[in-house]
Symmetry: C2
Subunit: 297 residues, 2 copies
């Protein structure tokens, strides 16, 4: 089995969008430039959502045009709709990401649209992206539980993931938005999806709300997944459990992968230093235990 | 495969002994009494080491005589030598624990004795314990790395574990003292030991220095281990990486086990409340992500 694992660094977008404190545009740019120097191949740079929804990311265009794009590194951005797609295209984005939930209730509350309606909204983005030569990543959220409806049937996760892939997403990231999953459930969900979408087109995305993220990633790696989303310094928090932990920390993921004999191309000390730098900007401890341990030794 | 997992709660001993701040004897007693009410079956109460070495646990006898022992719950205590064993016996202890490292360097620095010398010191304790009807648990530390010698050969872990079991330890706990292990290495180490000591006589003991503990536990559970050491609120820190994380948090372990369909008999909300109570006494945030999430929802 291939032992290269691609980390999709989502800190600048998924991480920061859930941090209360506003971060200066220049700091976001510096964060992405620092991350680019660590050997990461994919760095989600920002989101072209309406500033009304996510004030933290209102400077999306300035961030994207401000960063130094490194050859061989992808800088996807989130786009919620065609207007977002157009704003992204205008500043030279080469990869976008669309998102929907596997939970109807979550999607309704989060985007004012049911899942099928979300898919209809994405369809023109995917058509245009193909014509424009833009890669599209798809996110499925709430794959292991929903803050509103509780259990989310695996069949729904499979249906949504299959549809995103069929519509043209080159990769579908399966997100445990509320961090409720545990290793066996995570592996079973991934197995079910991989029966409908090739494993090589799947990524996993865990939040560490209950401390389970790394264990879930390990069990999904044993199932064969080779793309893992993570956020440096474990930024993010959880809007559904205030005060709880955020995204799984990239440093801890990379430490584990290297210990498991896998290859990431990431310079772990440089990544950990970037996490500590970011934490200083945020005025708090790093959320990465590896980041803390490497600073202490 | 049996789905009951026994948690050995080591917070009152392994956790507190590495906390800088002195805890009042009455608080230690209250901690153990609260833990006793959560459904835990094993609670390591204290250590009869010399107060010179571990001032935090100088009140071992007062703690042990102060707690309300609940029928069906074991309250092992650590004993470093025969004097410790005698002090423990004098206050009515029914289970003791002895410890050695799998790393010769670590054992020399930590106890001023090589591994074989440690074993010779334990021999009379095990002989007396058998005559006294006292159960003995054995700890092997540094099973996945040593702060002094680095790599620790798995063969050494196997040798030490086999010898402790052969000397009469009913259970041998395999400890990743510096938290350096990752899932595949942890599983391979456990598999090797389980070829020499029955799996039913083995426990795993992970520290969360690099955030790997829960992933390691999950992989060891899949190998068949059914006893897991953990400390409520993730107390402990790491004397070899100051500022780093401590023992794996019991709350996070129990959350995972229940999510994996395993049975612990532990009331998770009560355990999490105990962890938050302890954290208040220690004047800091709980080290349990599950503890935080349950408080927030």
């Amino acid at each position: 089995m291939n032992d290269f694992v691609r980390i999709v660094e989502v800190g600048p977008r998924d991480g920061l969008q859930n941090e209360k404190q506003l971060i200066a545009t220049a700091d976001k740019i510096e964060l992405i430039n620092r991350l680019s120097a660590t050997g990461l191949r994919s760095i989600e740079a920002t989101s072209f959502v309406s500033p009304k929804w996510v004030p933290q990311l209102a400077d999306a265009a300035d961030v994207f045009t401000g960063i130094q794009r490194r050859p061989g590194v992808s800088y996807p951005v989130l786009v919620p709709n065609e207007q977002g797609y157009e704003r992204a295209l205008a500043v030279g984005v080469e990869e976008v990401a669309v998102f929907t939930a596997a939970s109807e209730q979550f999607n309704l509350k989060n985007t004012n649209a049911g899942i099928d309606e979300s898919m209809r909204r994405f369809a023109p983005i995917l058509t245009r992206a193909q014509a424009d030569g833009i890669k599209v990543r798809g996110y499925v959220s709430t794959v292991l539980g929903c803050p509103y409806q509780g259990e989310v049937p695996v069949a729904e996760v499979v249906r949504v993931a299959r549809q995103l892939h069929a519509m043209g997403c080159y990769e579908v990231s399966l997100g445990d938005t509320i961090g409720a999953g545990t290793p066996r459930k995570a592996a079973a969900m991934l197995r079910a999806v991989a029966a409908a979408v090739p494993m090589a087109a799947l990524a996993v995305h865990f939040h560490d709300t209950y401390g389970q993220a790394l264990a879930n990633i390990a069990s999904c790696l044993e199932e064969g997944v080779r793309v893992v989303d993570a956020a440096v310094a474990g930024t993010g928090g959880c809007p559904y459990a205030r005060g709880a932990s955020g995204n799984v920390a990239s440093e801890d993921v990379v430490y584990m992968l290297h210990g498991m004999g896998m290859v990431t191309g990431v310079d772990l000390p440089a990544l950990a230093a970037t996490g500590r730098w970011l934490s200083e900007r945020l005025g708090r401890d790093t959320g990465s235990k590896t980041g803390k341990a490497l600073a202490a030794t």
